[in-house]
């Protein structure tokens, strides 16, 4: 593997009325485990079903029902941990987090406070070429999701749907290593990318597959470095937690707004109170969730319904052995094996399907050329119609065929674009289309010479001018290309024009 070294990005600085301030951000990302059934019941996890139809009696907390863990959900959490290069704990345990809310029928959430299944790991968050933040992962634990409350269907009532109740979540907790709104978004994007590669989370933010609680505090420049040296939190400001956000844009806005609120308080001589806040995107402000304060006394205790979760090292090793190639490794390999730029490799590895597509196109061909065609032509065209790479009407074999025709000199780059459009809209084998439609580049010098002679004969005045000003040769080349319907080999035309004009 190519060793890529990175510099740390500069932290975001916000100028207050008196001083400059830096941001310190830690995130708790709730990622829904991609599984068919729920964490402790056999009910389906499918999104968008009829309300309360994906509910087992366990999920509805009927008396006497006992949870039985879905082993695949455990496997997914382990896989995610391995993907984040994290410590896997062979013994973990479940605890009850007690609180009352209508969408939580048990009156507690089964979670892992004291003994999480995954320990410390790390995520590399790139912030441009050669610049990356290393965000340490503190832990990942498995827990149940709550149901969904709908507040706008009736003026006096809230409606509760328990379909999501009991679906497995992974809570991925970072250390306070994120230093700005853009880094927070990039971190979330990277987590999402890794989990999509691993197949452990669908990453659909609109459907709430990934939600984030963001802890924000402020400090004076230099204080964060003191914290890093000592791991002593007293060097950092008091943090506030902004709850439950599922939009990259709102997360960035909320962080900025919250940081400015804290700066204003501190500069006015006040103190930030540690609390839970909610971001209101309409008003562009965060506000205290006072009602949550008392509920914060969760009275955790070990869940007596569940034995500790013991897994075997051999099982973990097997999962590790079958891990797919991850984004960082794939990117490094693309740069090394295909000679791609850092930027192109990032674009091509953003989604695992796109990376696979590119590799199929690039196999046995020029990697840079393949990258150009996939990124500029294919991605551009797909984007126009809001299509995904998986919906591409052009297969890797077809795109490869077009590239082969260019490489052989059968078609020019310009004709290739026309050919691509035909293949995209009508399908078909590129080589056959070129034959049928007579798109082949004319490399027969005799034919080109004849065309050049004709243009020279028709334009004696231009010939005189060109002799004074050799730059005008380009005009002749254009005329010849026009006359041959763009099929003449441009290189051959250039040479012949120059020779005939005596330049």
């Amino acid at each position: 593997m190519l060793d890529l070294t990175y510099d740390a990005p500069k932290p975001k600085t916000i100028a207050g009325a008196k001083h400059d301030w830096e941001l310190v951000i830690g995130m708790e990302v709730h990622a829904q485990v991609s599984s068919k059934a729920k964490l402790f019941s056999g009910a389906s996890t499918q999104f968008g079903a009829e309300p309360n139809s994906n509910v087992a009696f366990v999920d509805a907390a009927m008396p006497g029902m006992l949870p039985v863990i879905n082993e695949f959900c455990v496997e997914q959490a382990v896989r995610t941990g391995l993907g984040l290069k994290a410590q896997i704990n062979l013994v973990s345990a479940f605890d009850r987090k007690n609180y009352f809310y209508p969408d939580l029928p048990q009156g507690y959430q089964i979670s892992q406070l004291y003994h999480p299944i995954v320990g410390e790991g790390e995520v590399l968050v790139e912030m441009g070429e050669g610049v990356a933040r290393r965000v340490r992962i503190e832990r990942i634990h498995i827990e149940q999701d709550a149901g969904k409350s709908i507040h706008d269907m009736d003026p006096n009532m809230s409606f509760v749907d328990l379909n999501r109740t009991g679906v497995a979540l992974m809570e991925i907790v970072s250390r306070p290593d994120i230093r700005g709104p853009e880094e927070a978004a990039a971190y979330l994007t990277k987590l999402r990318q890794i989990m999509l590669y691993l197949g452990t989370c669908d990453g659909n933010m609109q459907n709430g597959n990934m939600r984030a609680d963001v802890n924000v505090s402020i400090c004076r420049p230099g204080d964060y470095e003191k914290y890093q040296e000592t791991q002593d939190f007293s060097h950092l400001g008091t943090r506030c937690e902004i709850k439950n956000m599922n939009s990259m844009r709102f997360i960035q806005q909320a962080i900025e707004v919250e940081a400015r609120r804290q700066i204003a308080i501190v500069e006015a001589g006040g103190e930030v109170v540690q609390e839970t806040r909610l971001y209101d995107p309409d008003k562009g402000e965060t506000r205290s969730m006072r009602s949550k304060e008392e509920a914060h006394d969760y009275r955790y205790f070990p869940d007596p319904d569940l034995l500790p979760l013991e897994i075997e090292q051999a099982w973990v090793d097997e999962i590790a052995a079958n891990l797919p190639e991850l984004p960082d490794e794939k990117k490094a390999r693309f740069i090394k094996d295909f000679g791609l730029t850092d930027y192109d490799a990032s674009v091509l590895t953003a989604e695992v399907e796109a990376a696979a597509y590119f590799e199929n196109v690039a196999a046995g061909r020029d990697g840079k050329m393949a990258a150009n065609w996939v990124i500029n032509e294919l991605f551009g065209r797909l984007k126009k119609e809001d299509h995904d790479i998986t919906e591409s009407p052009v297969s890797p074999a077809q795109l490869g065929g077009i590239i082969d025709l260019i490489a052989k000199g059968d078609i020019s780059g310009k004709i290739a674009k026309d050919l691509f459009e035909i293949v995209y809209t009508e399908g078909g084998d590129p080589a056959e289309i070129v034959e049928e439609k007579g798109m082949k580049q004319v490399t027969d010098t005799g034919a080109i010479e004849a065309a050049v002679d004709q243009v020279i004969a028709d334009n004696p005045a231009q010939v005189e001018k060109a002799k004074q000003n050799p730059k005008l040769a380009g005009w002749f080349v254009g005329q010849v290309m026009k006359a041959t319907g763009g099929k003449a080999n441009p290189k051959a035309v250039n040479e012949i024009v120059a020779a005939k004009l005596g330049l």
């Binding site: 599984s35 068919k36 059934a37 019941s41 056999g42 009910a43 389906s44 009829e50 309300p51 309360n52 139809s53 994906n54 509910v55 087992a56 009696f57 366990v58 509805a60 039985v68 863990i69 879905n70 082993e71 695949f72 959900c73 455990v74 345990a93 007690n98 009352f100 809310y101 209508p102 409350s149 709908i150 507040h151 269907m153 009736d154 003026p155 006096n156 009532m157 809230s158 409606f159 509760v160 749907d161 328990l162 909610l278 969730m289 009602s291 008392e294 006394d297 009275r299 569940l306 034995l307 500790p308 979760l309 013991e310």
Partner: protein, 95 residues
């Protein structure tokens, strides 16, 4: 550790159990009796002893990732005091 009336009231509130003001002293006393017993257990030296989680050696039972349950909206809602259009209907809880 001693539980006073205020703590007893707080615990009752967190557990959503209604306790009348005049019942609080007795409740606090009961808590203290229970905690007193627990404190006695604390006298046992368990240094280096793994916590026992089960009387018999058992492994946490697992299930496969297969949908085997659900599709019983009517049964799920049958105990609800109020249900509308497939949802539980509860007093408004929005902040």
């Amino acid at each position: 550790m001693s539980i006073d009336q205020n703590t007893a009231a707080k615990v009752a509130k967190l557990a959503r159990i209604k306790v009348e003001e005049d019942a609080l002293p007795a409740l606090a006393q009961e808590f203290n009796t229970i905690l007193g017993f627990i404190e006695q257990l604390g006298e046992v030296d368990v240094e280096g002893v793994e916590p026992m989680v089960s009387v018999t050696p058992m492994r946490l039972k697992r299930r496969e990732d297969v949908v085997t349950d659900g599709d019983q909206q009517e049964k799920i809602l049958s105990n609800a005091p109020d249900a509308r259009e497939g949802f539980f209907a509860v007093p408004k809880v929005v902040e």
